[in-house]
């Protein structure tokens, strides 16, 4: 048993941390997401620098421009990005589309799609959820119909994050309506400029702008099919396993927690430091424990991946705990701040530049990569073998 990184890994961690510390000063850090055009551009510029240093795709296989490293280095990278609060861009491309193309794409597709992702030039959005297919994604209705060399797409996708920044949408479509529901779905990459694709703005409560996406006889070349026709569901599930640790999300919350603890030690209210309130002290100690559990559960996933194991229930364990833990932290912090917690970016009176109020909104994201109920189902059914 060993909870420590190797010397070489520690060196990598310290290199990446100092790089990010220097390149991402506090005024550029994304405390709870990427809100403005400026944030986005800045995030992309950092990613290009990371790509130049060979770090952006460190977890990718070498033949696709990755480092000769594994899941541990990938996790160190993710943790550093989160703790450095680097504005997140290109994550769908790097963590989901890239691996899918590597595993299931043709040589031509790899040539076309992978280099721009690795250079942080391409941005993707994801077209999985639909108005009537959320947790029950397998029942999706979106259609792709083969017509000569093309597929004709019709239907609507929901929660298209990054829609207004993406060049491509990575989507699931039903290609065989007569097959059992998971066996008639295929994966495609569509250029968002394809005639027939339109977006309705769908602003999120965390400040970022998503869309509902409509496809009205949008024609895409059949070369945009990724993997085998009607195997798209299984391809998509397999590529979800690429980056499962969730360390980036953990670390960004840990950073805000650390800042908040510091704030409590230096901020007086009613003539006393917030940290002198025994109830706050007790609650924050409890949050610290929960945060450490979160870190360990994430690293367990990373470690399992490094041994070649495929964490499944374990990834849901880490994800579920994290989601619940983040909400507990933000609600506790808001309680401790009282009315100060209602201030957003007020230049005069807000504490931590409104970070707690912001992360409190962000923590309502209780549904990422599956709702908490879906993660509980995965843990119980796949991890504990309970009946469906």
């Amino acid at each position: 048993m060993n909870f420590e990184l190797t010397e070489e890994q520690k060196k990598f961690r310290s290199d990446i941390r100092s790089f990010l510390e220097e390149e991402v000063p506090p005024e550029h850090q994304a405390v709870f997401g990427v809100e403005s055009e400026e944030d986005y551009r800045f995030g992309r510029s950092i990613q290009r620098k990371l790509a130049d240093n060979g770090w952006l795709t460190i977890g990718w296989p070498t033949e696709y421009g990755g480092g000769p490293k594994g899941p541990i280095e990938q996790s160190i990278f993710s943790e550093a990005m989160g703790y450095g609060r680097v504005p997140r861009t290109g994550t769908t491309a790097l963590n989901i589309v890239g691996p899918a193309v590597m595993y299931f794409g043709t040589p031509e597709q790899k040539e076309k799609y992978l280099p721009p992702i690795a250079r942080a030039e391409a941005e993707y959005c994801q077209g999985f959820s639909e108005p009537n297919a959320g947790s029950d994604l397998g029942s999706l209705e979106f259609r792709a119909v083969r017509d000569g060399d093309e597929n004709v797409l019709n239907g609507s996708k929901m929660f298209t994050s990054w829609a207004f920044r993406a060049q491509y949408i990575y989507l699931l479509a039903r290609t065989d309506p007569d097959a059992p529901k998971h066996r008639g779905i295929s994966l495609f990459i569509a250029d968002v400029k394809t005639p027939g694709i339109s977006f309705r703005p769908l602003p999120y409560i965390n400040g970022s702008m998503a869309a509902q996406t409509y496809f009205d006889d949008a024609r895409i070349p059949s070369s945009a099919l990724i993997g085998e026709e009607n195997r798209g569901w299984y391809h998509a599930m397999a590529t979800l396993d690429f980056e499962r640790s969730g360390l980036e999300r953990y670390a960004s919350v840990q950073r805000t927690f650390d800042d908040f603890v510091e704030l409590c030690k230096t901020t007086k209210y009613n003539g006393k430091l917030l940290s002198e309130n025994p109830i706050a002290r007790h609650k924050l100690a409890k949050i610290k424990v929960g945060m450490e559990i979160w870190r360990l559960l994430c690293w367990k996933v990373a470690w399992m991946q490094s041994t070649g194991a495929v964490p499944n229930a374990e990834a849901s364990v880490a994800f579920l705990h994290g989601t619940v833990q983040r909400l507990e932290f933000t609600q506790t912090a808001m309680e401790i701040l009282g009315l100060y917690g209602t201030l957003m970016h007020d230049p005069k009176w807000s504490l931590m530049r409104g970070a707690i109020e912001g992360i409190h909104r962000e923590s309502m994201h209780l549904h990422g990569a599956g709702t908490t109920e879906i993660h509980r189902n995965i843990i119980a059914q796949r991890g504990l073998g309970l009946p469906r």
């Binding site: 048993m1 060993n2 909870f3 420590e4 990184l5 190797t6 890994q9 541990i72 603890v261 409590c264 030690k265 430091l273 940290s275 002198e276 002290r281 007790h282 924050l284 100690a285 409890k286 610290k288 424990v289 929960g290 450490e292 559990i293 360990l296 559960l297 690293w299 367990k300 990373a302 470690w303 490094s306 041994t307 229930a313 374990e314 364990v317 579920l320 705990h321 109920e373 993660h375 509980r376 189902n377 843990i379 119980a380 059914q381 991890g383 504990l384 073998g385 309970l386 009946p387 469906r388």
Partner: protein
């Protein structure tokens, strides 16, 4: 990074599980509740033969040179079997205190006896107004010639009635010192406390108990040094025992949910049930990781006070959750004495409170985080 047990540790765990499944079924646990000793001397002998009672002692003292990680792995199995025995107090708490604080003669004399199971030592620390979690010790030891004379009352002393020695924390001139008291010494009065799970813990009244100065463990007034280290060690071991019991409760609940049919389906197919199982799995996985992290840091000689506090605080909450989920899902049948769930629930309270409960450790953690008291 390697977050798994070694092959050898896995083997130890498997062997311990098989042994305890055969030797310590819950029928025995129930029998022992009603016995005077509260443990099985026959099983105790076998535990000694397996090397469990000197697991972490150096080979020169009859031990197996095991690490704290090995010991946590063993205690996961002990917790799983809810094995009733004085192993935690004798081997771990007292054994480690003697190892850290005893002189060569004491170590050479006592540790081999403890590891062979021939001698049981128990820690007499808590009092009516003091415990693991603070308070001033009121039991006094007064020098008198070559002896010390000890007066006062200790509480919550486990297995005192079968112990050969009490390792007693007593106030000396300015601070606390440790004394080995032969339990047969005149003036030692042991009374069983009426406790959950019929746990064999006692009031120990000490009236003019005379011990030779050579029975002092560690330096005068410096007993808290070795004792503190042993308590740290034992707290991690206690967490391992809790994790093992919680895992067992989860396993029992999951097995039951697969076969118990209501409304025409196994209850485990109802999300209200399976979500509780999933949440408990998260808690048990988390408690296990944070416990082994504390063990690993202690083994590596790194600062680990924070880690121990986090481990015991979280193991305590996982333990309460296991009790709630277990009783909630087994429901009516678990309210009967003949069902085993109550055995796990009763012991949870002992283990949660022992060596400081969650609130105590969270308060310590607040201090480590730099919050003023």
């Amino acid at each position: 990074m390697d977050l798994g047990l070694s092959e050898q540790q896995e083997m130890l765990s498997r062997a311990a599980r098989e042994f305890l499944e055969a030797e310590c079924p819950t029928t025995l646990v129930r029998e022992l509740e009603d016995s005077d000793g509260g443990y099985s001397p026959e099983l105790w002998r076998k535990m000694a033969d397996l090397g469990w009672l000197g697991q972490a002692f150096p080979g020169q003292y009859g031990g197996s040179d095991g690490t704290l990680i090995d010991q946590v792995a063993l205690f996961e199995e002990i917790g799983r079997a809810i094995l009733p025995s004085p192993i935690l107090t004798s081997t771990v708490l007292c054994g480690q205190t003697i190892l850290y604080g005893g002189n060569e003669d004491q170590k050479a004399a006592l540790l081999p006896l403890i590891s062979r199971g021939d001698t049981i030592v128990t820690l007499a620390l808590a009092e009516a107004d003091a415990g693991f979690d603070g308070g001033d010790i009121s039991v006094m030891a007064t020098a008198d010639g070559g002896d010390y004379v000890i007066n006062g009352t200790k509480l919550f002393v486990p297995y005192a009635h079968v112990a050969d020695y009490l390792l007693c924390v007593a106030r000396t001139s300015g601070a606390d010192s440790l004394f080995l008291i032969d339990s047969k010494t005149a003036g030692v009065n042991i009374t069983l406390l009426h406790s959950v799970a019929k746990y064999k813990q006692h009031e120990v009244a000490l009236q003019n108990v005379r011990v030779p100065r050579t029975n002092m463990v560690g330096q005068l007034d410096q007993g808290r040094g070795p004792l503190g280290k042993a308590v740290d060690w034992a707290t991690v071991v206690q967490c391992g025992e809790i994790v093992g019991r919680c895992q067992k409760v989860l396993d029992l609940v999951v097995d039951y949910s697969k076969v118990r049919v209501q409304f025409g389906r196994p209850i485990g197919s109802f999300q209200a049930v399976l979500h509780q199982c999933a949440d408990l799995r998260v808690a048990v996985d988390g408690a296990r990781l944070v416990t082994y992290q504390a063990a690993w840091k202690l083994v590596e000689g790194r600062p680990c006070s924070e880690d121990i506090a986090m481990a015991k605080a979280f193991a305590g909450s996982a333990s309460r959750q296991a009790t709630a989920v277990g009783h909630g899902i087994f429901a009516g049948i678990a309210f009967t004495v003949e069902h085993d769930m109550q055995l796990y629930m009763m012991r949870s309270k002992i283990q949660e409170a022992n060596l400081g409960d969650s609130d105590f450790h969270l308060d310590n953690l607040g201090g480590y985080m730099g919050f003023p008291t």
